[in-house]
Amino acid sequence: MLIPNLIGKRHNIHNITVIILLDDEPDIVSVFGKVLQLSGYGVNGFTDPPKALEFFAKNRDKCSLVITDLRMPHMNGIDFAAKVRKINPDVKLLLMTAFETASYDEQIAQLKFSTILRKPIMPTTLKATVEKTLAARATS
């Protein structure tokens, strides 16, 4: 699990955009986490959905964006997102997946994911998507 590191390089401590990143593959969490940190975001990485939920519940007002993988053991990204929405219906959600999502399309729309990132994800794509998502209007 990536050690939570709330201090990005470009923003001061009061202006941090906090992102939660969840994937069952530790290397993905650490590498993507690093990519986003270098862009100035505060990233909290998790490989365990319950721990991510616990953290989110404690910091619901500070987290602007939750990025989650779809296919994980014990709890998939859809169920995780549903629980996140219960805690904070306004937070922005991004889904990362290598899987075909056709069977989940309805739930994805219902949970108001801002967009779906298909693996393998290029670092530039990740950065651009995160930027766009955070800049967009709040989820209705």
């Binding site: 069952d24 593959e25 530790p26 290397d27 993905i28 650490s30 590498v31 993507f32 690093k34 990519v35 270098l38 296919r71 053991p73 997946t97 290598a98 899987f99 075909e100 693996k119 393998p120 994800i121 290029m122 670092p123 990740l126």
Partner: protein
């Protein structure tokens, strides 16, 4: 009722063709009047005693005949205890009617809607009477407007020919179902495999980019330990995930070889003690690399130079897989590898750990593909182990230890195999027989009854 020459027969028929037929009266009749066709059709259904075989050529035919009251007759036949078998195309519209049939005990199997040239309707009753009805215009909504000529026969050779045709369609639906299911499983496998391959690719690409940025910084003179540490980490991530990709692609290839029937065993004489000691040595190295304070021991209870026939590299793969899992799921403690004689013709190998055990939700699917993904694992290890042990004529299983701590995985191998031909999945027929073997009923074979480990015949494996 008709002559043996198949004359056109346009006069009204008696209600029950059965009653007035003498053996000398066997014939084939052409019926052109639609009212007579209906009469014969219903009369045959109403008087059926043993079995009704029915083929619907199209979805519209199903609809028309339902409206006509055919399904009611079939229901009544079922109530009389008549066996009913139906071959029919199926879609969402007619599914309801067909399910009704299924509910009252008719066996209904799906066929593809017949091609334009062969839209015939076939009815065979009690193996003695056949009625074949042409479809003149499938677009019509009522039976009377849709059908053309019909032929009725009570002549044994003719009726039996139709029975043969029906039975061959019937058998085909079986194969079709199996092929469809196998296809679906294969697509599912390819889908999941593609996903699994994409996962390690992500950190490789991202780390390469991060490494490039680090190097740029170094060039610009921003040399500091943090940058070098980052570079080091980038390279480790790349190496680690490249290795994962390699393992995964090897496993996927092996699965595909098994499924296509080209998986062969190379049996040779193997010294069991050597095999086990090598596997343990490798496992010990892994434990050190992963910084796990686990002690791996050998409990060897056979003759010192015990030799058996097996494919040593594949059995090594199985041992390696079981030990790898044991180390992954055990934080500290002991892992014991043992080999013991089960009976005069087989051995049992066990890998017992003191780890977190097998979680109940995957217990029954342990040996299927992509079920349990240990970190760094490919998800195919146990599946492949199972196929290897099966190919050797053995059995594999895994249960949680009675002590409540850890699990034991074990496999039994026959020691009296000599000929490779018996064991290898060398031909597609054998492979086909195992298609759809994805379900592996663990509970039936090894699930723990006290005192411990039972094989599929309920014998204690210890």
């Amino acid at each position: 009722m008709g002559s043996k020459n198949g004359d056109n027969y346009d006069e009204p028929l008696e209600d029950n063709p059965h009653s007035s037929i003498q053996p000398e009266d066997e014939s084939i009749q052409i019926i052109s009047r639609v009212q007579n066709i209906k009469q014969v059709y219903f009369s045959l259904l109403r008087n059926s005693q043993q079995e009704v075989l029915l083929v619907f050529p199209t979805i519209n035919a199903v609809r028309r005949e339902e409206r006509l009251g055919v399904f009611t007759e079939l229901r009544r036949a079922r109530q009389r205890g008549v066996r009913v078998r139906v071959l029919t195309p199926e879609d969402d519209f007619v599914a309801a009617y067909l399910d009704e049939l299924r509910k009252n005990g008719s066996v209904v199997r799906q066929i593809e809607s017949s091609p334009a040239e062969t839209k015939f309707k076939l009815l065979i009753v009690d193996g003695r009477f056949s009625l074949v009805i042409e479809t003149k215009n499938d677009a019509k909504g009522i039976f009377e407007e849709a059908v053309g000529l019909a032929t009725f026969s009570n002549s044994k050779p003719t009726v039996l020919s139709y029975v043969t045709i029906f039975e061959s369609f019937w058998r085909e639906t079986d194969l079709y179902e199996k092929a469809r299911e196998a296809d679906r499983l294969k697509d599912e496998f390819v889908n999941i495999a593609a996903h699994e391959l994409r996962n390690p690719i992500c950190p490789i690409i991202a780390s390469a980019e991060l490494a490039t940025e680090s190097i740029t910084k170094l060039r610009e003179g921003e040399l500091d330990n943090l940058t070098l540490d980052d570079l080091n980490e980038n390279i480790s991530v790349i190496a680690r995930n490249a290795s994962k990709l390699y393992k995964l692609s090897e496993d996927i290839l092996q699965v595909s070889r098994i499924e296509s029937g080209s998986f062969t065993l190379h049996l040779e004489q193997v010294e069991i003690k050597n095999l086990l000691e090598t596997a343990i040595q490798d496992a010990r190295k892994n434990a050190v690399t992963e910084n796990k304070p686990v002690d791996i021991r050998l409990d060897y209870r056979l003759a010192d130079r015990f030799i058996m026939f097996c494919d040593s590299s594949k059995i090594n793969q199985v041992l390696y897989n079981l030990l790898d899992n044991a180390v992954k799921f055990t934080e500290n403690g002991t892992i014991t590898v043992s080999a013991v004689k089960f009976d005069d013709s087989s051995l049992v190998f066990k890998v017992e750990d003191s780890g977190i055990g097998i979680s109940p939700e995957i217990k029954t699917r342990l040996f299927e593909k992509f079920v349990s993904r240990s970190s760094g694992g490919t998800g195919l290890g146990l599946y492949l182990s199972r196929r290897i042990i099966d190919a050797h004529g053995g059995k594999i299983g895994g249960i949680n230890n009675q002590s409540g701590v850890g699990a034991t995985f074990f496999f039994r191998l026959p020691t009296d195999r000599r000929s490779p031909a018996e064991d290898a999945y060398t031909n597609t027929e054998k492979a086909a027989a195992h298609m759809g073997d994805d379900k592996y009923p663990q509970e039936e074979t090894f699930e723990g009854h006290n005192p411990g480990y039972l094989d599929h015949r309920g014998r204690n494996l210890l």
